[in-house]
């Protein structure tokens, strides 16, 4: 059995089912992200693990112990909030030592542990400051140190970086990940930022209105999305309506243009079926190998510089697609309105 497991966990507020039969096993030392749009039940699920909400039904076990009904202060779970939630009346050191003093640790040990935590998050110099004297990023590091000081069995982070500016967000997420790895602590990280989830997780749980859409490594989630929702929510995507032409050979047609797909159970479909196809913008490139699976005629509609990436809008049949290529100074960009050929592999054509 997994270290932390949620079995059929369901939460209703009144008649509204917010989390529906949630099943998930998390191994010790794993870093799992809950990713999903606003209101999909990420926080609620996390709060059930923390003990702030009682599941309507289902079971949560931690290290073999059923904790479903345990009070939050009886679980050894660290929690990090979006708004830091530091105690304003206590200094940084007092904040970090709070959980230890509650556990009746003697003051020498508290001191030692607090110092250890301060150096873990690089805040040795700020031990005697009050929270209001610190920047947002520093406050969140204090809150991390405070949660880790009690050596929790699980660390729960509810959008801990959302209140910070972009630069700090990136550096702090790497810091959190490095500390989590070093301590081998099990963590659940809630976010609605796909880049954040992709960059720091061992596994991602993509959620949509109370249900789990897909669980997998960032690589799997990005490259092999199982549902239209996952494909669209993680990364950007071109979507189009198409029709099955030759199920046995994986051929379909969009606006009369033929595409070849490597989709697994495509052969079970019938000729004439309506399907949706999706292609990631970076999977297209200008044709150089005429033997490639899909070599397609298109018209250049627009070109947008996005820094490292150049986004080119192309028209295939009557449908516009985005195509991303890396920027470099020697790039020869086509003229707008020019007729070109692009290609993509058959694996790039997802049928969802």
């Amino acid at each position: 059995m997994s270290y932390l497991s949620l079995e059929n966990v369901t939460k209703q507020f009144g008649d509204v089912v917010v989390v529906d039969k949630f099943n998930l096993g998390i191994e010790k030392g794993e870093f799992v992200s809950f990713l999903g749009p606003s209101g999909c039940g990420k926080t609620t699920t996390l709060r059930m693990v923390a003990g702030f909400e009682l599941p309507t039904s289902g079971r949560i076990t931690l290290d073999g112990v059923d904790i479903t009904d345990k009070a939050p202060n009886q679980r050894n779970v660290g929690m990090i909030f979006q708004a830091y939630a530091l105690f304003p009346n206590m200094t940084v050191a007092q904040n970090i030592g709070f959980g230890l003093r509650i556990r009746k640790m003697n003051s020498t040990d508290v001191h030692a542990r607090v110092d250890e935590m301060l150096s873990l998050v690089n805040l040795e110099k700020h031990a005697n400051k009050y929270p209001y004297q610190l920047s947002g990023g520093q406050q969140q590091r204090v809150s991390l140190a405070r949660a880790l000081a009690i050596r929790p069995e699980v660390l729960l982070l509810d959008e801990p970086l959302s209140a910070l500016d972009a630069k700090i967000r990136v550096s702090l997420r790497q810091e959190i990940r490095a500390i989590q790895r070093r301590l081998g602590i099990t963590a659940i990280f809630v976010t609605h930022d796909q880049e954040e989830a992709l960059s720091i997780s061992d596994r991602i749980v993509v959620m949509n209105v109370g249900e789990m859409e897909q669980v997998g490594s960032p690589f799997e989630i990005y490259n092999f999305p199982k549902t239209q929702f996952v494909a669209n929510f993680v990364g950007s995507l071109n979507n189009a309506d198409a029709e099955v032409v030759d199920p046995a050979n994986g051929i379909l047609a969009m606006d009369g243009v033929h595409f070849k797909t490597a989709e697994e159970d495509f052969s079970s479909r019938k000729k004439g079926d309506k399907v949706k196809i999706s292609v990631r913008p970076e999977r297209f490139s200008f044709a150089v190998e005429p033997k490639k699976d899909n070599v397609i005629d298109c018209t250049i509609e627009s070109i947008t510089f996005l820094g490292a990436v150049v986004r080119i809008q192309i028209k295939i049949g009557n449908t516009s697609f985005n195509m991303d290529t890396f920027n470099n100074p020697f790039l020869e960009l086509p003229a707008i309105g020019a007729k070109e050929q692009v290609m993509c592999s058959k694996e790039a054509v997802l049928v969802l």
């Binding site: 923390a50 939630a85 530091l86 509650i102 009050y130 406050q139 009690i150």
Partner: protein, 305 residues
């Protein structure tokens, strides 16, 4: 025109920020004139207000210094302080004020806390109840108290007496008047504590403390109370000012408090009441200053980033 009105409001509120109005943007000079104009008018209103408050105070002070013919002196103050009743009533009122503050704190802090934490639906009801003392005059409150508590208290449908009429014993009367004062103080105590709790987001702080293993007692004493301390203090000082000057409850319940004493000598003497009024004023101001001082120091610490 709407845009003109808007600009005027901005000028009146003495803001030095630019505000873009879609049409008819005034040039720099006009704008700074408007700004100076705004500052001028706010000063005028401030001075008018100050005069309104200060003139009666000054008159009281002047009057209190004129006990001896043709000289200004502190004779009235000496006389007033010499009267042993002054100290007695004053101390009693202070003791009642302290008791009221303590009991109110014990009642209001957990109530406001629980409503914020678990019963947000009850906020409206609590606000309504705590505002009742503004609507219902103290005289009605005191007659209600007397009617209810001047009879023998028995367990319903039996003859077993629970306690004697509260109004017949000294302690009972003090308990009754403290309860009455708690009602009068409720609007101030509840509001300031509730606001204090909103400012520090006690919900999240509670959850943070819980996840660190804290139980309710620790949370209330180490997290909630210290963080609403300044709010509590401002409520407490207002309560203090109310209790020390209160007349209606004290005189109808027959408590020899400072309020009725002031009222009494006001009817018999000419200069001492003015002196005592002025002293009470100073005390209230001192209390206000304390609020400023204490909350000013704490304001930053409790202010979220």
């Amino acid at each position: 025109m709407a845009s003109k009105g808007l600009r005027k409001v901005v000028a009146m509120s003495d803001t030095s920020f630019d505000i873009s109005v879609d049409q008819g943007e005034p040039d720099k000079k006009t704008r700074s004139l408007l700004r100076i104009g705004g500052r001028f008018w706010s000063w005028v209103w401030f001075i008018l207000g100050a005069i309104y408050f200060l003139v009666p105070l000054f008159a009281t002070l002047r009057h209190s210094l004129r006990m001896e013919r043709d000289v200004l002196g502190f004779k009235a103050y000496e006389r007033a302080f010499e009267d042993p009743s002054f100290l007695e009533t004053f101390l009693l009122s202070n003791a009642l004020a302290v008791a009221t503050i303590l009991c109110s704190t014990l009642l209001i802090v957990p109530t406001a806390y629980w409503i914020r934490l678990r019963l947000p639906q009850a906020r409206r009801i609590a606000e309504f109840i705590t505002l009742l003392p503004f609507v219902i005059p103290a005289i009605i409150l005191v007659f209600g108290l007397i009617r209810t508590y001047s009879t023998h208290f028995t367990i319903p449908f039996t003859d077993i007496e629970l306690f004697q009429p509260l109004t017949t014993t000294k302690f009972g009367t003090y308990a009754l008047i403290t309860a009455g004062y708690m009602v009068l103080a409720m609007p101030y105590m509840y509001r300031s504590v509730d606001t204090g709790m909103r400012v520090v987001d006690i919900r999240t702080l509670t959850e943070a403390a819980q996840s660190l293993g804290a139980g309710w007692f620790t949370i209330i004493t180490q997290v909630i109370l210290p963080n609403v301390r300044s709010a509590l203090l401002s409520g407490a000082l207002l309560t203090f000012a109310i209790v020390v000057g209160e007349v209606t409850l004290a005189s109808f319940l027959g408590v020899d408090a400072f309020g009725p004493y002031l009222f009494l000598i006001g009817q018999h003497k000419a200069y001492e009441p003015a002196a005592l009024s002025f002293v009470t004023f100073l005390m209230t101001w001192f209390a206000m200053g304390m609020i400023q001082f204490v909350t000013g120091g704490q304001g930053q610490a409790t202010g979220a980033h």
